[in-house]
């Protein structure tokens, strides 16, 4: 078994309303997954639940595994330390906190601050992130595409193993999307990607190994990238 993240009987509620209804799935290592589905089907909730958002509660039978260890009861920071990374749909701006300060703190005792700084500079160059965005408060005055690139930068510096991109292609210009997709395509070793998306725009640049379709809190269909094309053509109703 080559499982990266395993979901077992995962049911998730927010304010006593069940959103995810008994999902069983195993995400394997070194693969790219696309998660699609209509609005309100529970895609983002699934992402937040894996990352460990505190206002989400699991049913008793729910279990989440990272490799072989159960992480359902771990706090979000402990899950992140294991290698789970969530790229937010709308990354919040952090007043007075730079990406360097954030990453230095997250990696204290793991990576030297100078090495972190250097890596940020190199990656900013590679991902075409403007210098001033690096020295400014994180996400402040950044466009949609720049924010997503900054999320990717964090995932790389943190050396995340399971990376969830929540609506990676919403509010992102085509150039930024290409850069992000190119990075993913080139860095597939020891990484597992879960791309939550409405369109198959990004899937043209990163070919997913699996396409999952979610509806009303359940995974209703699993296929290869052709499934995404089919959805684009005929919508979710045809499924």
């Amino acid at each position: 078994m080559n499982s990266m993240i395993g979901l077992k009987n995962l049911s998730v509620s927010v304010s006593n309303k069940e959103i995810i209804k008994g999902v069983n799935y195993s995400f394997e290592k070194n693969k790219v997954y696309a998660l699609m589905g209509p609005n309100g089907s529970g895609k983002s909730t699934l992402a937040y639940a894996i990352a460990g958002h505190p206002s989400y509660s699991y049913s008793k039978k729910s279990k989440i595994f990272f490799e072989k260890s159960e992480i359902s009861k771990l706090l979000p920071d402990k899950r992140a330390k294991k290698g789970i990374f969530l790229s937010f749909q709308n990354p919040l701006s952090l007043n007075g906190v730079t990406v360097f300060q954030l990453l230095r703190l997250a990696l204290s005792g793991i990576k030297e601050p100078l090495a972190v700084k250097k890596q940020i500079d190199v990656l900013a160059d590679k991902l075409h992130i403007k210098k001033e965005l690096i020295s400014r408060s994180l996400n402040e005055g950044a466009s949609g595409g720049e924010k997503k690139k900054l999320e990717l930068l964090q995932a790389i510096v943190l050396d995340a193993k399971f990376i969830i991109f929540d609506e990676i292609d919403t509010g992102v210009d085509i150039d930024a999307l290409k850069i992000i997709a190119e990075y993913m395509s080139k860095n597939r070793k020891n990484k597992t990607y879960l791309l939550i998306t409405h369109y198959n725009r990004i899937l043209k640049y990163v070919k997913p190994d699996k396409v999952l379709v979610m509806s009303s809190g359940k995974i209703v269909k699993v296929g290869d990238y052709k499934l995404a094309e089919e959805i684009e053509k005929n919508g979710y109703k045809s499924l």
């Binding site: 990352a51 460990g52 958002h53 505190p54 206002s55 706090l75 979000p76 920071d77 899950r79 992140a80 330390k81 789970i84 990374f85 969530l86 937010f88 990354p91 919040l92 952090l94 007043n95 007075g96 906190v97 300060q101 954030l102 990453l103 703190l105 997250a106 990696l107 408060s137 964090q154 943190l158």
Partner: protein, 465 residues
């Protein structure tokens, strides 16, 4: 009543040395005690009379009721004067070992090695350690404790003492004026720019002992000086009072910056009057950080009396459990083309309370003045509280006024964002709080800002009760 064995060592700097006071007057305050203090110090008659006049005003004045709760102060249960050693020492080796040990723990000698221009460290009510580097003396700069200043430079002291803050200004200014001891006296001659900050460390160490230091800074025309005070204090079992007076005269074209990092233990009432007179084209900057104390009431002020004078107050207040920081600023525009800027950042958490209280007054004739006020409050949880009491009295038409105020709650979403990067919740709170105060912190010398960040992170982690 005070018990002998009830010192509490939980406070992070709460080490308390055995008291080895050479002399102390009786507890409480009356005319006899005030006269006695003056006599022990061998002061000139005018100072003794100044003290007595101040005491009489203190006695008849009611407690201020518009701010924080001061009802727990028991003036009769305080020692108003204690002298730790016979005279001020001028080298580290001469210090008694207990006092040296205390200072070692707050890092005075190391700080000195690295960058101090002169150290004047206050132990109990008198300065016991003082080293002024030759460079300062050569430039004609005077930096000594206030008692020494009065002895050696009586004309200068007499000319300015009590002229910026009258003893009749408020009850606590009057109290300080009657029993003051220690503090710094700084005189910077015309045109002299003091390159390194002058620093003073304060400490109070005798239980039930109030500290009433008095600082006077005179910056002659076109001069510059940066004065820094930082304080930590051991914990006591009964309430302790710190009531200082700081008077600053900034002459034409001069610039003075006064930085405070206040971290008194939580049983201390910190009631301080600070004011500067800012003359033509002169600049006064107050950088005021209040982390400690149970109750603080402090509103650094600038009286902008000369054409083109500038005043600035940058302040940070953190109130944790059982703390009330009532802080702010006062700017009085009395001349044309004057500029004032107030930037206040307050944080309340774990049931603490912060209040911003500010007054900006533009008097008739202060035309073409500019006023900028920005006060931001960050509230960490539901138990905590923040209030804003801004007051503007504008009696002039040609004035440019900007006022901004924000209140922000430390949101769960921001915390989750940071946690999802592998940062623990308390570290995330610390990071966000430090980000919030960053615009003010960047104005503080590096080693102080590091200490400040560290203190705030400690508070966030809840390691301080």
């Amino acid at each position: 009543m005070v018990k002998q064995n009830d010192l509490n060592f939980d406070y992070k700097f709460g080490f308390s040395k055995p008291e080895k006071s050479v002399f102390r007057v009786k507890k409480g305050i009356n005319e006899e005690i005030v006269s006695q203090i003056s006599k022990i110090k061998k002061e000139p008659l005018w100072m003794k009379e100044f003290r007595l006049r101040s005491y009489r005003f203190f006695k008849k004045t009611k407690m201020p009721e518009w701010g924080a709760d001061l009802s727990k102060i028991d003036f009769e249960n305080i020692f108003y004067y204690i002298r730790a050693t016979d005279k001020a020492m001028n080298s580290w080796e001469d210090l008694p070992s207990e006092i040296k040990d205390t200072y070692d723990r707050i890092g005075v000698p190391e700080a000195e090695k690295n960058f101090l221009a002169g150290v004047s460290a206050q132990y109990e009510s008198e300065v016991v350690y003082e080293s002024i580097q030759k460079e300062l003396t050569k430039q004609g700069v005077i930096f000594c404790d206030m008692d020494t200043g009065l002895k050696k430079y009586p004309e200068i002291v007499k000319k300015y003492f009590g002229t910026i803050i009258s003893p009749y200004d408020n009850k606590f200014a009057a109290l300080n004026s009657s029993v003051w001891s220690g503090g710094s006296f700084v005189y910077v001659p015309r045109g002299v720019k003091v390159a390194l900050p002058l620093q003073a460390y304060f400490r109070i160490n005798a239980r039930n002992f109030g500290q009433f230091e008095r600082t006077l800074i005179i910056a002659e025309p076109e001069s510059f000086v940066h004065y820094i005070e930082g304080c930590t204090a051991p914990i006591y079992t009964t309430s302790s009072l710190h009531s200082a007076v700081v008077e600053i005269i900034v002459k034409p074209g001069a610039r003075v910056r006064y930085t405070t990092v206040q971290n008194w233990s939580k049983n201390v009432f910190n009631l301080v009057t600070k004011r500067a007179r800012v003359e033509k084209n002169a600049v006064m900057e107050w950088v005021d950080c209040n982390i400690g104390s149970g109750v603080t009431m402090k509103y650094p002020s600038c009286f902008l009396v000369g054409d083109g004078a500038k005043g600035e107050v940058l302040s940070i207040a953190y109130a944790g459990s059982a703390q009330h920081q009532d802080a702010g600023a006062k700017m009085i525009h009395m001349a044309p083309n004057t500029t004032s800027r107030i930037v206040s950042k307050s944080i309340s958490g774990h049931g603490g309370r912060t209040s911003y209280r500010g007054l900006v007054q533009v008097l008739p004739g202060a035309s073409n003045s500019k006023v900028y006020v920005s006060c931001d409050a960050l509230i960490l949880d539901e138990e905590s509280r923040s209030d804003t009491y801004p007051s503007m009295k504008i009696n002039e038409n040609e004035v440019d006024i900007q006022h901004e105020a924000t209140v922000e709650k430390l949101g769960e979403e921001k915390l989750f964002y940071l946690q999802s990067r592998g940062i623990s919740k308390s570290e995330a709170e610390g990071l966000l709080v430090n980000g919030f105060i960053e615009p003010v912190v960047k104005e503080i010398p590096l080693e102080y800002s590091i200490e400040l960040n560290r203190l705030i992170n400690l508070e966030m982690a809840g390691s301080v009760g």
